[in-house]
């Protein structure tokens, strides 16, 4: 419903702008609006995340009065239904029927990879603030698939592994959803942690949407480790955190999680069970930096909830694209120029509070913060930064070329150094 309404208002705005066009604008008017196709899972398993993706984009477009690089924006939103086949079909519709200048979005890796494979053939610029598959900026780059305000899955768990060593943890067990996003995040932590002398005692891989975690928790409890690293998303994360607490593990073993595990989209519906969980990410909604605080406050005022990574990433991704468009006068039709310009543009003024640029492989370099879930004055929970690793790239402290020679993280390759 929101979407229809939004489209209507957008179109109305475009029409109004066209009718009442000031003369100096006529040159632009003939170029028409910039058409952006947004793919988000509005139904299916991750529907709530998809909704926040749309909100993030709209929040940005509202702030810039629906104008990017001096041109009006026509946004078309398609539901990828959390399903790669549907995502592919919708991407086709946006590109071939809707003539979109660019695509942005998708949440689940499989939907994003399907669309990336498709735009490889069409050359349409495709922006992925959420899709984190390592190889998209490492071993299998696609020129027109760009990670604006996105991240590489293992990039934040590398410093997290380092942090765990510094806490004096010697033995860690990991549990993760069994797909690339999980393999990569666990791999990042496992490699740095074991190379620094730590031991990964055991790794558990479970299918997405595991109804009952108790069999795994039983095994985790018996391992007697110093900390547990869990890589969970969405409903799995909710369930994991709750069952972790209800089986009494919370009081015994510190829980470290991948950043999506303690994202607002998860902890917003749970309470004290989430308190104290540590994670590593580029963004922390509870940061006291002025820009972050303002973003969080405005977003909360508008949508009635603290922004999640989905909302933040899409918002910042749009901001990044806009910055590039401004630089090149909105000439989005020149694809090569557009892609090059984006890659050369810095993201400034985002809620991160620090300028961000791409590395030579098209991956943004961020300050990574170690975050802790704490209770806010009003009783809600959020992630507050406790420590920062500045300027962390996707290759951590490794030499890119050497790093790229090792295989991509998978269930069989976790970069674990045998003691």
């Amino acid at each position: 419903m929101d979407r229809r309404q939004f489209l209507k208002t957008t179109t109305a705005a475009v029409a109004a702008a066209g009718l009442g066009a000031a003369p100096w604008r006529s040159a632009m008017a003939q170029a028409g609006p910039i058409k952006i196709g947004l793919l988000a899972p509005l139904t299916g398993v991750v529907a709530s995340g998809g909704k926040e993706m749309v909100e993030g984009v709209q929040f940005y477009l509202d702030q810039v009065k629906n104008e990017m690089g001096g041109r009006k924006v026509e946004l078309t939103i398609e539901d990828d239904a959390s399903n790669p086949d549907t995502a592919l079909q919708k991407a086709r519709r946006l590109v071939e029927q809707g003539n979109c200048h660019m695509l942005i979005g998708d949440l689940l890796a499989n939907t994003g990879l399907a669309v990336a494979n498709y735009v490889k053939g069409t050359g349409t610029p495709y922006f992925i603030p959420i899709i984190a598959a390592d190889d998209l900026t490492q071993r299998a780059r696609i020129k027109n698939v760009i990670r604006v305000a996105g991240y590489t899955a293992s990039a934040f768990t590398h410093p997290f592994g380092d942090w765990a060593l510094k806490q004096g943890y010697k033995r860690i067990a990991t549990i993760s959803q069994d797909y690339t996003f999980g393999h990569e995040q666990c791999g990042g932590l496992a490699q740095v942690f074991t190379e620094g002398g730590g031991e990964i005692v055991q790794q558990f891989w479970h299918p997405l949407n595991t109804a009952d975690f108790s069999p795994y928790l039983g095994q985790l409890a018996e391992l007697k480790v110093d900390a547990i690293f869990a890589m969970e998303t969405g409903a799995d994360s909710t369930r994991f955190i709750q069952q972790y607490a209800s089986f009494g593990l919370k009081a015994k073993t510190p829980l470290l999680m991948a950043m999506n595990g303690t994202d607002q989209s998860v902890i917003r519906t749970i309470g004290e069970e989430a308190e104290g969980i540590i994670s590593a990410a580029h963004f922390a909604e509870g940061s006291d930096k002025a820009v972050t605080a303002k973003f969080t406050k405005d977003y909360e005022a508008k949508y009635g909830k603290i922004p999640s990574l989905y909302g933040f990433s899409m918002y910042s991704g749009m901001m990044w694209i806009d910055a590039a468009l401004k630089k090149m006068g909105g000439k989005v039709e020149d694809r090569d120029l557009f892609i090059d310009t984006v890659l050369k543009t810095e993201l400034d003024g985002s809620p991160l509070g620090k300028a961000v640029k791409f590395d030579a492989y098209g991956n943004p370099v961020y300050d990574v913060t170690i975050r802790k879930v704490v209770k806010r004055a009003d009783g809600k929970y959020w992630n507050v930064p406790t420590q920062t690793y500045p300027e962390v790239g996707q290759f951590w402290k490794y030499d890119p070329e050497t790093y790229l020679k090792q295989p991509a993280y998978s269930r069989t390759f976790q970069g674990i150094k045998k003691a």
Partner: protein, 322 residues
């Protein structure tokens, strides 16, 4: 499965060979002209209609002519898709060989399904095929080393010659015409007549000395072969495969298209596929509540047009004639 009394009796189809051939020729020629009037995206949709039409038709072989509705054909279809993508992307085989292997694998899986399922009928057949489909899905989801797990596999599956939207559409159209003819011949063959006999009365056929399980086994396997063809084409269409291609939803969609087209009408499958795909596309363009609309349509079809769109049209026409 009890058959719908409104389903057209086989005798209606028989004896129309000359006219049928003429109609078929007209339909194929009209269909091959479609790309000239449709946009690229719509040609893509039309290709999808043909592919899913073949799937729905393969389900109709069992449902309409042997009285057994399978909820496992999406899995058979998807096995072919997986094998084709794997062979081209991972094993580096040429497209033709991959295609053949994909169809072969689907046929083999169908044969295994058939072995387990032929002793059941009615709701139990439905449940068993559903469960078998779930196993295939579970394997594709969990056997990460080979299937890529949740992420699936990507590759440039389509042969270079067929890269264009139009070329691929025409190739699929030709394929669809050939397999449609083959299926039509199959259900009208003496073997197909025996299947119908089993549908109408299993005990009578048994007492007449027919080996009922063997006939069902062969019927199921043949039907699986055709589902495999559809799945292999789908691999070339998408250049991508993931567990959702073998999921229950795929089977359900196939069955729904078959029913919407009319059980036992065979070619109605294409009408059903076109109706469902068009509905999904049109509705999803106007509301994000398309699943709700789809659900309601489902219910309405079951209540008001259980004989399917072609069946409904046929009824209305014959009423007029009388």
């Amino acid at each position: 499965m009890t058959m719908d009394p409104h389903a057209p009796r086989p005798s209606l189809l028989a004896g129309l060979t000359g006219r049928a051939a003429a109609i078929a020729a007209v339909v194929v020629i009209a269909a091959s002209g479609l790309p000239l009037v449709l946009s690229n995206y719509q040609v893509g949709l039309a290709t999808e209609v043909l592919i899913f039409g073949i799937l729905a038709m393969s389900i109709d072989i069992l449902a309409g002519f042997a009285g057994r509705t399978s909820l496992g054909h999406g899995a058979i279809f998807g096995v072919a898709t997986y094998v084709v993508v794997y062979c081209t992307a991972q094993a580096g085989l040429p497209p033709v060989a991959s295609f053949a292997l994909g169809v072969l694998a689907a046929t083999a899986v169908a044969a295994v399904f058939a072995l387990l399922a032929v002793r059941t009928s009615g709701v139990y057949f439905l449940l068993l095929t559903l469960a078998l489909g779930m196993i295939v899905w579970g394997v594709c989801l969990r056997w990460t080393q080979v299937t890529g797990g949740e992420n699936g596999m990507r590759g440039d599956v389509r042969p270079v010659l067929l890269l264009g939207h139009h070329a691929f559409y025409w190739a699929v159209l030709a394929g669809a015409a050939i397999v449609s003819f083959a299926m039509w011949r199959f259900v009208r063959s003496p073997f197909g007549l025996t299947l119908r006999g089993i549908r109408d009365s299993e005990s009578r056929m048994r007492s007449l000395g027919y080996n009922v399980p063997l006939h069902l086994f062969i019927g199921f396997t043949v039907s699986g072969f055709f589902a495999g063809v559809a799945g292999a084409l789908y691999a070339m269409f998408n250049n991508f495969v993931s567990p959702s291609t073998v999921a229950l939803a795929q089977s359900v969609e196939g069955v729904l298209m078959m029913i919407a087209g009319g059980v036992g009408t065979l070619f109605g499958a294409f009408v059903g596929a076109a109706a469902i795909i068009a509905l999904e596309n049109v509705v999803s363009a106007y509301t994000e509540r398309w699943q709700m609309v789809l659900g309601v349509t489902f219910v309405l079809i079951m209540i008001f047009a259980p004989e399917g769109i072609t069946g409904k049209l046929r009824n209305m026409l014959s009423r007029k004639v009388r």
